[in-house]
């Protein structure tokens, strides 16, 4: 039977597609950073950035996207929970990571210091928004 995109309940939502595409991008970036680290020991200040590109940019972002897609419905009205939280999480996580990559490996001027503080706040905000979306969805299906 033909079913339109909007009627299919398990169609991968746009936020999930964006999470996964960003995740793959960070994985590639992380692997390139790993190669650069191996080639030039002087780049060791990139080590924490490299680690977080893989663990936050790739792994955590992939988990966020897939969990938002597949976890049980929150309610009839909010099938995937309050979606505003997940969009905020997507924007904050990626903005936080970009700021981190731009500021962490370099000598800190005032601009870089502000970027690091903002990055810290954004990444924590992303986690908070993700949890706010997920928590009400963790329930036994009727």
């Amino acid at each position: 039977m033909h079913t339109s995109k909007h009627q299919t309940p398990n169609t991968m939502p746009l936020a999930t597609r964006l999470f996964i595409r960003f995740a793959v991008g960070y994985l590639l970036l992380g692997l390139l950073a790993g190669i650069a680290l191996a080639l030039d020991p002087a780049l060791r200040t990139f080590w924490p950035t490299y680690l977080h590109l893989i663990t936050v940019g790739w792994l955590t972002q992939l988990i966020f996207g897939v969990a938002f897609w597949l976890f049980p419905r929150a309610s009839r009205q909010h099938k995937r929970g309050r979606e505003g939280y997940i969009w905020a999480s997507l924007v904050l996580l990626n903005a936080g990571l970009v700021l981190r990559v731009a500021a962490e490996p370099f000598d800190l001027g005032v601009a870089d210091q502000s970027a690091l503080v903002l990055s810290a706040l954004f990444q924590f905000g992303a986690a908070l928004c993700f949890v706010a979306n997920m928590w009400p969805r963790l329930q036994r299906r009727p």
Partner: protein
């Protein structure tokens, strides 16, 4: 969603929140804004919470939920080892993380042993469920 999955995922989300808060504080220390010195010592706890408490625990919870079921009850296998695994992985992360924070090697070893036991208990439930859907055994 079965109760052990709900407990494991909720605990994983708590680790995500606390671990990210610690990570945020650690990142702010690099901005040289006069953070207290103890903050810089929390990185092993941050790592333990994010890797084991968040990622591994989340994977365990979701795997218990979605791996193929048995054809006979209990369809997801006996739940007790998974409940025990949930208790042990959280105790393990706390022990190994705090042990590194306070410099107690015995606490770190005890925590890591608890983490190992948690994974073995989880595997005892998951291993027989790694099979084709609808088949009792592979």
């Amino acid at each position: 969603m079965p109760p052990p999955t709900i407990w494991l995922v909720r605990a994983a989300l708590v680790h995500l929140l606390v671990g990210t808060a610690l990570g945020a504080l650690l990142l702010v220390t690099k901005a040289d804004l006069g953070m207290p010195p103890w903050v810089a010592r929390t990185w092993p706890l941050h790592g333990e919470m994010m890797l084991l408490g968040w990622m591994v625990q989340m994977a365990m919870g979701v795997a218990y939920w979605i791996l193929p079921k048995h054809t006979q009850r209990p369809v997801r296998g006996v739940a007790a080892p998974v409940v025990m695994a949930a208790l042990l992985i959280n105790a393990g992360v706390a022990g190994a993380g705090l042990g590194q924070l306070v410099g107690r090697a015995s606490l770190v070893v005890a925590g890591r042993l608890a983490e190992l036991a948690a994974v073995l208990l989880f595997a005892s439930n998951a291993w027989p469920r790694i099979k084709e859907f609808g088949r009792e055994r592979d």
